[in-house]
């Protein structure tokens, strides 16, 4: 799967970037001082304030942010966008081309396609957010434990990570989902989580390892702080940056993966309303009713694009090395 390459590339890119700790900024000199913000308060020079300042100037961030607001609204309150029920269908009016009245035409059941496509946002979003949140938690746990303690704990966790990483996640998910008979968003999300966590865990382990030997951690140790305190107070805040950016990109990757798996017949099932299912139906009528294909394709594309671009912008903003 090509999305997988994005996963791989992220690890290498961040592995290279992680030679400098992502946010020593917080404990050492304010980094924002150099770029002309001389009159600003100390608090504003924190990593996050600094990131926010550079984000506001990034056109990609503004565009993808605006798109996301619309898409999230669509997933939460689809009624804002359409008053037509996605279940109000008239079989005699099936596969009609778009008109002024029905902007996206009708589907093979004669339902209003605009309403169907709008209502499709919710399932995609649930899968994307649930998987990304779950993988975030797994990655933080695995990365912290492996990177902080090292030794046999690292050995065990890293070898486990390697094993799962060896299975291309689309293949793994395809085979695993196939043995589940009733598949809702939660089942699909769990299976995707099972096969996609290694990239994030590796990323987190790398950034933990890049701060674990820094002076402030040693100082905390010397002062007698416990493992939990060191991890919570010193390591976590300074190593979370890359993972946060990546988790946003990851929502996009997962939404693409879910649509793909559903399209291949192992994701969500009828009667769920989902872009992947719409693509499956549309494929049989691609020559006679191309609009059935076009609209879900655009919606999946825009959603994935928005998440991935936003995540990239956040990741760049949180990486002090990328600043010029």
């Amino acid at each position: 799967m090509s999305e997988k390459t994005e996963l791989d590339e992220t690890t290498t890119r961040d592995a290279r970037a992680s030679t400098t700790p992502p946010s020593e900024v917080k404990t050492s000199a304010p980094v924002g001082a150099g770029d002309g913000g001389s009159g600003r308060k100390e608090a504003e020079a924190s990593l996050w304030a600094d990131a926010w300042r550079s984000l506001r100037r990034n056109p990609w961030f503004l565009v993808s942010g605006a798109l996301l607001v619309v898409i999230i609204a669509m997933a939460v309150v689809p009624q804002l966008f359409t008053s037509v029920s996605p279940h109000a269908c008239d079989l005699s009016q099936n596969r009609q081309a778009p008109t002024a009245d029905q902007w996206f035409g009708t589907d093979i059941q004669g339902c209003d396609y605009y309403s169907r496509v709008i209502h499709g946002a919710r399932n995609s979003m649930i899968v994307g957010v649930v998987v990304s949140a779950g993988v975030f938690v797994i990655a933080v746990l695995v990365g912290l434990l492996a990177g902080y303690f090292g030794g046999w704990i690292d050995g065990l966790l890293s070898r486990t990570t390697d094993m799962v990483f060896a299975i291309p996640y689309m293949l793994g998910a395809l085979v695993f989902l196939n043995i589940i008979e009733d598949r809702g968003p939660m089942q699909v999300a769990l299976v995707l989580m099972l096969f996609t966590w290694p990239t994030s865990a590796r990323l987190m382990r790398g950034s933990v390892m890049s701060v674990v030997n820094s002076e402030y951690v040693m100082a905390a140790k010397a002062l007698g702080a416990g493992h939990v305190t060191i991890m919570r107070r010193h390591i976590l805040p300074n190593s979370l940056g890359p993972l946060i950016g990546y988790s946003t990109v990851f929502i996009g990757i997962i939404i693409g993966a879910e649509a793909t798996l559903t399209f291949l017949g192992v994701g969500l099932q009828q009667p769920a309303i989902s872009w992947g299912l719409q693509l499956t139906d549309a494929q049989s009528y691609v020559t006679s009713s191309p609009h059935l294909l076009l609209f879900p394709v655009i919606f999946v594309g825009v959603t994935v694009f928005a998440f991935m671009t936003l995540g990239d912008a956040v990741r760049d903003a949180l990486d002090p090395k990328s600043k010029r």
């Binding site: 090509s2 791989d8 060896a166 293949l171 793994g172 196939n178 693409g256 693509l279």
Partner: protein, 308 residues
Amino acid sequence: MTRYIIRRLLQFVPVVIIATLIVYALNFLMPGDPIRALAGDRPMSEAAMETIREEYNLNDPFLVQYGKYVWGIITAGDFGSTFSGRPLSDIIAQRLPTTLMLAAVTFSIQAVIGIIAGILAGLYKDRFIDRLVQVTTVIMVALPTLVIGFLLQLIFGLNLDWFPIAGTRDGLVSYILPGIALAAVSTGMAARMVRGELVDALQSDYVRTATAKGLSRQRVVLRHGLRNSLIPVVTFLGADLATLLGGTMVIETVFNIPGLGAMIVDSIKGQEGTVVVGIVTLFVLFFVTINLIVDLLYALLDPRIRYE
């Protein structure tokens, strides 16, 4: 270096065993009784079902089944057979060329377009061509393969009617759209990577020295700048060859190409467990092997990397 190679080879074995075991185990859990499904509506005698189960080792304990299966692959290249009795190695031999052809087209697009676009953007940094490449690659990288495939099909297949939208009857031409769709994400990434590396290289001391020596711009760029910039890209494209296989499932289904990827999807729908396990195992082996080769190649190509 030798120690690194040995350690990497030793890691390879358990990874292969466990990965294939997981795939095999997952399939073991597939719902329904495939033998009954094979019999269809007509009832089959208990004895006949027993014979078939025996033939496919379905009565052995799980690990024994797995062992026999792996032994068969290693000793005889025997990936098992379909329930209709056709050896899977036959199907693989028949469909592999199609998938390899698709992979070759995809790989050529990635390497040629990706590298050229990256070089142009790097050489003319902050000029129009650079901006164009940057915007295009952001879009290419951020769209799922599925979406790119369908968009190409709609625009260049249906609307403009330049390329066939399904099948492989037209030879090389029918691989172009699927190849572009499959290549898009990695082409974008390769281009960005080449650009970044080249920009760094052109600002480095050794390039400045070469220019100061009075070498021609062409020689400086080709011999000094590019040479170092291409190392990470070579390994990236190599590693990508492995992940490309997963993408064939999607693209072969979208464009109705009769390759191995489409075969996996079809046999999952038809609950043909042996076919799924066989081809997925083949893919996983390929994936793990290529990753191993790329890791070793990387260590070899880049002397800055030292493995303890």
